[in-house]
Symmetry: C2
Subunit: 266 residues, 2 copies
Amino acid sequence: MTHTDTDTDPTTTRRAGLGGAAAGADAALATGLPAAAHAADTRRSEARRPGRGPRIGVVLYDGFSLLDPTGPVEVLSRLPGAEITMVAERRGPVRTDTGHTAVVADRSFAETGRLDVVLVPGAGNRGTVAAMENPAILRFLRRAHRRTRFTTSVCTGSLVLGAAGLLGTRATTYWASKDYLQTTFGVTYVPERYVHDGKVITAAGVSAGVDMSLYLAALLTDELTARAVQLAVEYDPRPPYDSGNAAEADPELKELALRLLEKSQR
Amino acid sequence: MTHTDTDTDPTTTRRAGLGGAAAGADAALATGLPAAAHAADTRRSEARRPGRGPRIGVVLYDGFSLLDPTGPVEVLSRLPGAEITMVAERRGPVRTDTGHTAVVADRSFAETGRLDVVLVPGAGNRGTVAAMENPAILRFLRRAHRRTRFTTSVCTGSLVLGAAGLLGTRATTYWASKDYLQTTFGVTYVPERYVHDGKVITAAGVSAGVDMSLYLAALLTDELTARAVQLAVEYDPRPPYDSGNAAEADPELKELALRLLEKSQR
């Protein structure tokens, strides 16, 4: 393998060349993975930095939609000192709506203390309904909400907030669930990427969590930091199509979208 | 809790009301979570549908950036019959660059057969360098590449492809790694969200995986399906700021972005 500078330790050179500011530090970490079965999941406690940034709890529950929590976590994890914990009814892996993977919850609800931010992802029908009817989830959300600075959701996660009695008068949700939101909770559906009502911030479907989390990042820190985070994750979206907005979609496309969703979800 | 229709089974009504086409089916799944410790991670094998869609392998390695693989998986998991597997050197949870969570690899490289698509995510400096120097990862990629329809990457994942000798003459990568890409692999850096060169498709940093995966979705199926998937994940991006493009960013913002990244990564 070639190196850009043969006079320096190749690992350091590589790290310097990659463009990050980490050049020269921790070169030894790049080699020597341990042989244990779960070697790749280095213990979280070893890596716990002092924090003093926002304490963010991201709820996971069976059948959640993968991008709902992971988009926001990618963004918010870049805030200085951010302490982000994936939380669930029990510790351990929580599988997504399609079943293709699972994301690990490091803490149970019972082990989770005061949060500055709580985030509830959405799910397919099965997962959302189950969450809306899960007393442990609802109890945790109500408890967390008493002390959060912001209570947030992505996609049908706003319906779970609704089930917990935490919505205000305006909110958004997954586009196909807007009537349900209004009818069930008496909340006005707002067709925006995210809606900020009191201390509750709800986001539209799935990918809207990224937009919402940049907005939230600015509230938690400042606009300059949020812009820097946007650049850090190179969030300069240029989708190849412009079919992401339900209000502009014809009925056939909406039907196909929902059919694809249904077939993909367990 | 209120229901929209008291004459019907409330779970079915809820599911119907949510707007999906799954109303009436699998109502029993919405209740009765088992009490086992990892109850939320229902066994993947129970859910394996017949497939016959694209077989997609998504590589995970220690220190990867969370959104790199999860954005594409959210999109591609909606393709009819898609068989998506998160693969790694060993089965089990693989922790991200910030350490805030782990994503589960269901299969090891050794257990992974022919793939239509392989996707390599990026990582911070530490994770990227380790992956570039990991013989198991490089061997797996070369083996997979011999039979893929498309070999793809997000962010610094293209550097791992480069280390495996799989890049062509044009590619993209994370914005801060463009010089390294060109210098190390003699590849022309193209400042686009994604670059398609031969059967290799590389994407820019982190969030670019979503754009790239919609493009890939159309190649694997057709444009109509890709548009429907875009609607299914409500991908109508409207970030609150326009700072995601490095070419338009001033040096101070770039420096802050890289500093935030470095501080957030273990």
